[in-house]
């Protein structure tokens, strides 16, 4: 089985700083993979490098086997490589429905504007925003804006979805709702790369975890193992605490 998304030694430098350094991984079809790492590890830069916001300075991005390293963001979207933003990016003065219709019209492949609207309405119902379809996007609450971001990406009928902290700023109940939604998206056959800080989300959703630190991939494996990985704990908490933690674990 071929990977739907593959990174080969991807680097992205800003001047002398290597925000992403020599990262390689594969995302299989239908998989949910989590990307974790401390603040400033380069997670968002990696997503930007994949979607063409920042073209990688070295390495290759392969999508469905084809080289898409030099693509522009709009080309990524049309190909079926959609993303959400950590800081939500709606079109504030348009209605919620129009926001999603824009995605369907430009990123999807509809026959007409009317069809784009129908598609948009279906995605809004799917994420649970059908009742606010005619409100301006600026009037939505944060959890609903996150859902709008999801609906916008889904309207493009993506094959791969890159979720950049869709759960940040949500409370416990809202996160449960979001988890359920992400599971239902995966059930549609969309492969998902999810950037997350919340271990609850990582542990319950992903089959595999990638750990990024200082722009480099330092560990990769099943979520339960990663939580106890020495290098991962060091990256988050420093070597001193990692040592103490392991002693305590051994003692317990």
């Amino acid at each position: 089985m071929t990977a739907i998304l593959e990174l080969q030694n991807v680097s992205r430098a800003f001047g002398g700083i290597k925000a992403v350094n020599d990262v390689s991984f594969k995302l299989e079809k239908g998989e949910i993979v989590a990307l974790i790492g401390p603040n400033g590890a380069g997670k968002t830069t990696l997503v930007n490098a994949i979607t063409g916001v920042h073209t990688p300075t070295a390495g290759k991005v392969l999508f469905e086997g084809g080289d898409v390293t030099k693509q522009k963001p709009f080309q990524a979207a049309r190909r079926g490589l959609a993303r959400t933003f950590q800081i939500v990016q709606p079109f504030p003065k348009m209605t919620v429905l129009e926001n999603v219709a824009a995605s369907a019209l430009f990123g999807g492949h509809p026959e007409s504007l009317a069809e784009a609207h129908e598609h948009a309405a279906r995605e809004l119902d799917f994420v649970g925003l059908g009742h606010v379809a005619q409100s301006p996007a600026a009037s939505l609450t944060l959890p609903n804006r996150k859902r709008l971001e999801l609906a916008k990406s889904l309207a493009m009928s993506p094959k791969v979805l890159l979720l950049d902290e869709v759960n940040a700023g949500l409370n416990a109940t809202e996160i449960d709702g979001a988890l359920d939604l992400i599971r239902r998206i995966a059930a549609r056959g969309v492969s998902i790369l999810i950037i997350e800080h919340l271990m609850k989300v990582v542990l319950s959703l992903s089959s595999r975890v990638l750990v990024l630190h200082h722009g480099e991939l330092i560990a990769e494996g099943p979520p339960q193992e990663m939580v106890h990985d020495r290098k991962v704990i060091e990256a988050y908490l420093g070597p001193k605490f990692a040592e103490r933690f392991q002693k305590e674990m051994a003692g317990a």
């Binding site: 979207a77 049309r78 990016q89 824009a102 430009f106």
Partner: protein
């Protein structure tokens, strides 16, 4: 999307017809004002596509207009009939804006605004230094249109009104098409527009070219009308500021806003020129400032109902309190 109302189209058709009647019903002075109104309406409508729909504060109107003046004049001097020269000017300016747009549209916000102003000055400098072709600072004489003065004015007015109609149709089509939807997305959030699959560069260039061809034609027609052009007059920095102010005065990004704004501004300016010869620029400045503070959405975005019914409501509130 909601069904678009036909009223802007009807209102515009009536207004064009009213302007077209001025040569029949009124005198030379009124015809001259009608021509000014038509000219600025065409310019403001053109600006609306890049400045209103797309939200890119372009100040290159005078560059397009000035290049149009010169291309039209030069074509006519080399024997091209007037009508063809006007079309040639529009086409040439469209080509220029395509090339320049590919460069300056990489800039955003204030940077784009400054870059687009620079285009006006650069064009002016090129035209004034390239003496052999453009006559430099001496200006150029343009072959006059044949006919008695009133007939010429009427002809110029009808041609200008034709350009206005074309520019208005360009606005309507843009507003109701995929292009307009994409441009509105860019206006509200360019990064997000890119991310939903809009080829933002292509859309912006299309908007820039659409905003350039009509000013090019207006410039060429103007040159034929006045019979003489020079660099300072053709590449007028004041015009480049006036046109966006007109569009915003009426309501940028709406269909009728630029039309209303151009009429209001031209008439106000006429009144101030006539009555306060020394103070008119200062008064214009005050209007611009007032516009930004009190009317950021333009005349058409005002809540007219609230203004008209404010008094009764306040009275009702007082009665309740009392």
């Amino acid at each position: 999307m909601a069904k678009k109302s036909p009223w802007p189209l009807i209102a515009m058709a009536l207004w064009l017809a009213a302007l077209a009647l001025t040569p029949v019903l009124l005198g030379n002075y009124e015809v001259r004002i009608a021509i000014s109104i038509a000219m600025f309406t065409a310019l403001a409508l053109s600006w609306n596509i890049i400045g209103g729909f797309t939200g890119y504060p372009s100040f290159s109107t005078a560059a397009f207009y000035g290049i149009g003046c010169y291309v039209g004049a030069l074509a006519q001097r080399s024997g091209v009939p007037a009508a063809l020269a006007w079309l040639a000017a529009a086409a040439f300016v469209g080509g220029v804006s395509f090339v320049l747009g590919a460069i300056v549209l990489r800039l955003k916000g204030h940077y784009f605004a400054i870059g687009s102003i620079a285009l006006v000055d650069i064009s002016r400098l090129v035209v004034s230094s390239w003496g052999e072709v453009t006559g430099g600072g001496n200006g150029l004489n343009v072959p006059l249109l044949q006919g008695r003065p009133p007939e010429v004015s009427a002809l110029v007015l009808y041609v200008m009104l034709g350009i206005v109609a074309a520019a208005f149709l360009a606005n309507v089509i843009t507003d109701r098409s995929r292009l307009g939807f994409g441009l509105r997305c860019i206006e509200q959030n360019e990064d997000a527009a890119d991310m939903v699959g809009i080829d933002t560069t292509r859309y912006k260039i299309a908007a820039y070219v659409l905003s350039a061809v009509f000013p090019g034609a207006v410039g060429a027609v103007y040159a034929s009308w006045v019979g003489y052009i020079d660099p300072t007059d053709s590449f007028d920095i004041v015009m480049t500021v006036q046109v966006p102010v007109m569009a915003m005065l009426g309501g940028a990004g709406t269909l009728l806003g630029p039309v209303v704004g151009a009429v209001a501004f031209t008439l106000l300016e006429e009144v101030f020129w006539a009555n306060f010869l020394e103070w008119n620029r200062a008064i214009m400045g005050a209007i611009v400032v007032a516009l930004i503070f009190f009317l950021p959405g333009g005349i058409l975005k005002l809540d007219w109902r609230a203004i008209l019914y404010r008094r009764p409501r306040r009275n009702a509130a007082e009665r309740k309190a009392g």
